[in-house]
Amino acid sequence: MTSEKPTMSGQTMIEFKDVHKYYGDYHALRGITATIKAGEFFSLLGPSGCGKTTLLRTIAGFEGISSGVVMIDGKDMVSVPANVRPTNMVFQSYAIFPHLTVEQNVGFGLRKDPRSKAEKAAAVAEALEMVGLKGYGARAAHALSGGQRQRVALARALILKPKVLLLDEPLSALDKKMREQMQMELIKLQRQVGITFILVTHDQEEALVMSDRIAVMFEGEIAQLADPETLYRRPNSRKVADFIGTMNFLPAEILSEIDGKVEVEAKGFGRLTLDAEQVSVAPGSSSASIGFRPETLTILFDGQTATDRESRAEVVEVVYYGDMTYYDIKLEGTTEPMRLSMRNVFGRPVLDIGTQTRVAWSPGALVLFR
């Protein structure tokens, strides 16, 4: 929970204080405490059933809470119904009204707006232009593609200038290309309008790409809340490490602990000393293990030498991806294969299975879980 990126205003927009939610006996939210800052692109990330959508819906007001406090812009939301909250939502299904045209959908929330008809129509046209749907106003809602529906849903929410825009897995229904394009567009749009965006997603890559900060949730609790880089490089538990990207784990033995610095011995890496910030303590865990990302190990080709440390290894599997090659290697003295990724460089061969090689690594890129 360190090194937070500076945000536009830095003021607190949403505050959860020990929020609990029960569905009968089922404990869906288990003491959520967190703050979301104004102007931030915040993501709730987790596997399905972890409570991320429930948490989002408590902000929108579709879901009451059993105990705790949800504050938006300094106001307790406990008795504020959904239609009065300063939030708008892009639904997973987009919820584009099928009986209305694109224009009528986008202008749906403007009924009580005191502006004149012409001004409202201009606002609708502007909103449509902002999401790249200029000239689509008269179309019937059911004649739109998935990507277009999503844009309409965005325009319909943003035209009301909410303090917070809630996005419930908005990209999950799109194909890969469209999804990547919409990710970039959403980031740009968020910078342009400066509204706090809260995204619910189960796609860790999507969360890393888009967010200023991410809350990783498991079983109704926030496991880690940090910016993408911290989350990726310094996950605070094996569970988070496993969920975000790929992480290799090697069993390790703790030799000594002096002033927070931990000396460990791990087969394949040998004896090494780690800083306090590289150590994450999970309550109740008995065994220690070293974790490292696939790209933190580099295969040394003939003549290359390691700048820091090196180990011997054997290639046991090769997966060629074009720009990258993934190797499964066994470090000397270990039995479990570890995943390693190498950027392919012109003129350098892809190694064969069974090749004996050397890998370079640096103790600073490792994490110790205990």
Binding site: A60, N83, T87, A140
Partner: protein, 315 residues
């Protein structure tokens, strides 16, 4: 069905399709289209005593008509009557039937909507079929028995009157409950309730609940969300309910016969009279075709007025 190269039709997809629908098609032609065509043809023919003279004429619809009888081999006029649209009695009954069925339709659909809404929105999903089942239970008994039961309820010595007399709210029985248009409306509205509840329920069930959340999210109160989102999306079901109730009630003759009294008689009673007692098939047919035309005109007008709710709501 064999695919001989010369006779291409047999074994083709079109032939298979026709073969598949042929039992239904034969049923529809024999039992629906043919009788209808016959009635349509009768309405332009001439009435003879116990037979129909195949001579074309329009007077069953407009103007004065004659029934004929063979007297010693010569045709003589047995009776003179007016065509449907020139006969004040027929017009009165057509008008009354239209008004009664419109009132029945409005009452039934307005009462059915809350029931359907309740079952769709407030009953737990696992209990919905049980609720629909319960709604249909009164309809396991014969239609006639249910009509008679309304006599028991509405009559001068009936449940309502004796109850009100007992508690002293009235000093003499209310007579306007039975044997007039009111009792016809009440009885028919009850009889057609499930036929209105079911289509409305189905269209409410089809509404994605996120539409309602979106309505709230975009700043509308529960009532305005109902008005702007739920109701328009439920309109296909309301339209079906209206047609399902309106079309058969205008031609109902059992209910007006039993509970309608003289003021509650409807056009179907006149058709029955012409077919059975007066033996005037041609006038009876013209009455049937005329009321059918009215039903068709009103239904088409209704569909036209609701066309924007019925267009391609595929999602």
């Amino acid at each position: 069905m064999q695919s001989k190269p010369k006779v291409r039709f047999w074994g083709s997809e079109a032939a298979n399709g026709l073969l598949m629908i042929s039992p239904t098609a034969i049923y529809a032609i024999l039992l629906l289209a043919a009788p209808l065509a016959m009635i349509f043809a009768y309405s332009f023919m001439t009435d003879g005593y116990l037979k129909i003279i195949p001579e074309f004429q329009l007077c069953n619809y407009f103007g004065e008509c004659h029934s004929y009888k063979d007297v010693n081999g010569a045709r003589s006029v047995a009776q003179t009557y007016r065509g449907v649209w020139s006969d004040p009695l027929a017009l009165t009954l057509l008008w009354r039937s239209l008004v009664i069925s419109l009132v029945v339709t409005a009452t039934t659909v307005l009462l059915a909507f809350p029931v359907a809404y309740f079952v769709s929105f407030y009953v737990a999903p696992s209990k919905k079929s049980l609720w629909l089942f319960l709604i249909t239970i009164p309809f396991w008994t014969s239609y006639l028995i249910r009509v008679f039961l309304w006599k028991v309820i509405l009559g001068t010595g009936g449940v309502i009157n004796s109850g009100l007399l007992e508690i002293g709210l009235i000093s003499e029985p209310i007579t306007w409950l039975l044997y007039n248009a009111n009792s016809v409306v009440i009885t028919l509205a009850h009889a057609y309730a499930p036929f209105a509840i079911l289509p409305i329920f189905v269209s409410l069930e089809k509404i994605d609940r996120s539409f309602l959340e979106a309505g709230r999210d975009l700043g509308e109160s529960p009532f305005m969300t109902f008005w702007r989102v739920t109701l328009p999306l439920a309109m296909p079901g309301v339209v079906s309910a209206v047609l399902i109730v309106f079309i058969p009630t205008i031609g109902d003759y059992v209910t007006p016969n039993l509970v309608g009294g003289p003021e509650g008689k409807m056009v179907a009673n006149l058709i029955e009279l012409n077919y059975k007692k007066l033996d005037n098939y041609t006038l009876g047919s013209a009455l049937a075709i005329s009321s059918m035309a009215i039903v068709m005109a009103v239904s088409l007008l209704f569909l036209f007025l609701n066309r924007r709710f019925l267009k391609g709501n595929k999602r």
